[in-house]
């Protein structure tokens, strides 16, 4: 019996050899934008994202935030709405910290950006640690199951035990902020490392809860790129991902990272993390790395999911350019095993949805495995 789309993706990630390239597509940026603006193509007015993907013949990558959520004890968490900003204060017995966020509706209803980070100065470290230590993980399985049922066997729900970030990323991007993180790491390394350890402990609690759901692939961290300095990645990221991979593998789960940035300098380290899937791989012209280089550097240990940079869906590239790119990508990935065709990382809002179906047609013509060059 033929495999369904979900089975195909999982089989490739487990190292099985299929007879054609699987395709898992992400269109949520395009879909959310046009749904919000009432500008979906006439044919798709009122359609769900999943039904559009089914119509195009592609497997789905359905994005979901997290299978756990955070609850707080022994502190008061006060949220103040002052549109467009939301200020959240964490009032603890040892002090108060606050963040200011703004919702961005262009990419999806849940995307929030911190306009003011929780960390402001050195005095915030003890309070931050208190907040993390007094945060509990509880399951968020209900909403996840609803989406999983909607996707069915036509693709994968992309989610994880925590939010977007692994612990170090969370400290770097969300809690302290990128530039300040590196200054703090230079000036007060012990303080930063203590905070990282506290966030890791919280993530371990989340993993223990999350393992109770039936998620097959855990997306353990988003938005890897070379701006995570290689020595920092080696020192702080690699040991964490090895630990997480061992834990998830021991429960029969697969491990994925959303690696959609410039990965030229991090690629050699990817194999040391123990992850199974590097997802949203984005090659040239959007980055400096070709698919051939990705394949060579990641070897057979890591399944590559991605390959079509968002920019290729832009109107500036005609159908001929698009087809030539896809065909060349297939050649570069020959013989084509451990490769899931996908986007790096999404269909842009002004992209042509029919190019998703075009990829399906090109796989039918040129994506039968093994690909011979």
């Amino acid at each position: 019996m033929a495999m369904n789309k979900k089975q195909q993706i999982l089989a490739v990630a487990r190292g099985e050899k299929l007879d054609r390239l699987p395709f898992g597509a992400r269109i949520d940026v395009w879909y959310n934008y046009h749904s919000a603006h009432g500008t979906l193509p006439a044919k798709y007015q009122g359609w769900s994202q999943m039904d559009i993907l089914r119509d195009q013949g592609a497997g789905a990558q359905a994005r979901f935030f997290s299978v756990t959520r955070e609850e707080y004890r022994d502190m008061e968490v006060v949220e103040t709405n002052d549109p467009p900003y939301i200020t959240t204060e964490y009032r603890t017995p040892i002090g108060t910290i606050a963040k200011k966020e703004v919702f961005d509706t262009s990419e999806g209803p849940w995307i929030k950006y911190e306009m003011e980070k929780l960390f402001k100065s050195e005095k915030d470290y003890p309070v931050l640690r208190y907040v993390m230590e007094h945060t509990e993980a509880v399951d968020n399985f209900g909403p996840y199951q609803k989406l999983r049922e909607e996707v069915g066997e036509d693709g994968m729900v992309m989610t994880a035990s925590g939010g977007l970030w692994s612990p170090v990323q969370r400290v770097m991007r969300e809690i302290i902020g990128y530039e300040l993180f590196f200054y703090e790491l230079a000036d007060r390394p012990a303080r930063v490392e203590e905070l990282i350890e506290t966030v890791k402990d919280l993530e371990r609690r989340k993993l223990k809860v999350a393992i109770g759901c039936d998620l097959e692939v855990f997306n353990v961290c988003a938005n890897w790129s070379d701006d995570i300095q290689t020595p920092v990645f080696r020192t702080y990221f690699v040991p964490w991902f090895r630990e997480v991979s061992e834990f998830l593998h021991s429960h029969g789960r697969l491990v994925m990272a959303h690696t959609d940035g410039e990965m030229r300098r991090l690629n050699p380290l990817l194999r040391e993390t123990g992850i199974d899937i590097a997802e949203a791989i984005t090659p040239a012209p959007q980055t400096l790395v070709s698919m051939k280089e990705f394949r060579e550097t990641l070897g057979d240990e890591v399944t590559i999911w991605g390959g079509i940079p968002s920019i290729l869906f832009e109107p500036m590239y005609g159908d001929e350019d698009f087809d030539a790119f896809i065909r060349n990508m297939f050649r570069e990935m020959a013989p084509g095993y451990q490769f899931i065709v996908g986007m790096g990382d999404n269909l842009p809002f002004d992209g042509d949805i029919n190019r998703v179906g075009r990829v399906v047609d090109l796989i039918d013509k040129y994506g039968l495995l093994p690909i011979e060059v």
Binding site: P285, M316, P348
Partner: protein
């Protein structure tokens, strides 16, 4: 006269305290602040930029160097009160409207100012009209725009059109960047330059203004 190569070396190592100490010493020894900047601080930044381009250094190495340079400039500020800090060009920079990402833009702004540009950072989520107003008022050599999202990327083209509409386009070079942006896209929207990352922004801007 102080050994300017030591200041350059401290910048290269991103050592803020050492840079401050050596800058204070040079100033105390009667060195010309302009020389300290050109032969010490900017020479150090140039070395850091080269090491970044060659793959030896990483983005945070450049941030540390720029932080050291900024601290040294604060030391020199009183001595530069009359002449001001010498600049090689003026840049107005911002992340376009609808986009809340500013790491890349901040890095570019930091590197440009560390390399002798006078930078006016408009922040993130900058409306097109704000860019136009600032170009009118500041008359920069370069307008830098950043977008991380495919949803906001087209805004850069709209700003270029608005510059044309306002009769300002010929007076300013436009440089664009951001994760989804490519050289082809920069050409497509009519930008003058494209910088793949913060390190490359400096040579691109220098070349555009012939410095």
């Amino acid at each position: 006269m102080a050994d300017m190569s030591l200041i350059a070396q401290a910048i290269d190592q991103g050592d803020r305290d050492k840079t401050i100490e050596l800058t204070q010493k040079a100033l105390g020894a009667g060195d010309n602040p302009q020389d300290i900047i050109a032969k010490g601080l900017q020479a150090g930044m140039a070395a850091v930029g080269e090491k970044f381009s060659s793959g030896e250094y990483f983005l945070p190495d450049m941030l540390m160097a720029a932080r050291a340079m900024k601290a040294a400039l604060e030391v020199l500020a009183p001595a530069l009160k009359e002449t001001g800090i010498p600049t090689i060009g003026k840049v107005v920079i911002g992340t376009v409207e609808g986009d809340m990402h500013d790491i890349g833009k901040n890095v570019v702004a930091t590197f440009l100012s560390g390399n002798g540009f006078e930078v006016f950072d408009l922040g993130l989520n900058v409306p097109a009209q704000k860019f136009i107003d600032e170009v009118k008022e500041k008359q920069p050599d370069i307008l830098g725009m950043s977008a991380l999202l495919t949803t906001t990327m087209p805004v850069m083209g709209k700003v270029i059109k608005a510059l044309e509409g306002a009769g300002l386009r010929s007076g300013v070079k436009v440089v664009v960047g951001g994760a989804p942006v490519t050289q082809d896209y920069a050409d497509y929207i009519g930008a003058d330059g494209y910088a793949h990352d913060g390190g490359r922004a400096v040579p691109v801007c220098r070349e555009l203004i012939g410095k």
